[in-house]
């Protein structure tokens, strides 16, 4: 497709379970970003990939969160032992170069609900 694709669009999970969220960036985009959007908190940066490496993972809130990117394309965000405070919309974005003047293109997000 032409845009950033995220799956699933909605995920409901029980507290303590692990979840995997997937992002397919725009073809040819070398940079990939994960953000978390909670009500009233705006967009919280989680991690940034340039190619398959992550030069900035400073936003990951705890060691329960991890992400990887393979083949310079698809990325997976994994949350282990989910907690209720992990409930949020997780947004993925990609950009052509990963420099500051390369605009981000966002997916529609995965809404995660931890019960």
């Amino acid at each position: 497709g032409a845009g950033v694709s995220q799956s699933p669009s909605n995920k409901v999970t029980e507290k303590g379970k692990d979840v995997e969220l997937r992002c397919d960036p725009i073809s040819g985009h070398t940079a990939l970003y994960w953000y978390r959007q909670s009500l009233g908190q705006g967009l919280e940066f989680l991690i940034y990939f340039q190619g398959n490496s992550a030069p900035d993972k400073s936003g990951l809130p705890s060691d329960r969160f991890s992400a990887e990117r393979t083949g310079g394309s698809v990325s997976t965000l994994t949350i282990q032992r989910t907690q209720q405070e992990d409930s949020a919309v997780y947004l993925c974005a990609s950009s052509y170069q990963g420099s500051g003047n390369s605009p981000l293109h966002f997916g529609n997000g995965t809404r995660l609900t931890v019960t």
Partner: protein, 114 residues
Amino acid sequence: AQSVTQPDIHITVSEGASLELRCNYSYGATPYLFWYVQSPGQGLQLLLKYFSGDTLVQGIKGFEAEFKRSQSSFNLRKPSVHWSDAAEYFCAVAPREAGTALIFGKGTTLSVSS
């Protein structure tokens, strides 16, 4: 650390009235500046961006923004608001160094009354 402040959490404007959404940033050097819009149930869409040059930039949907270095501001404006402009608006900054991520403000929710 760099930060972005959107002082107004929620604004209501009458249809046809003018709009200004405020954005202030804190950063050592002039960053790249962006405004994004998120309509209900939709992803974020880039409205406009400022990199350099003319400090008044035009975007899509009739929006414009003015960069004021002395005030570290990048306010978004529209002369006449339409009901379809009701959405959440995010200001964002990106440092000019490569390899750093876009930092977003907490957003301003715009409601449009008839």
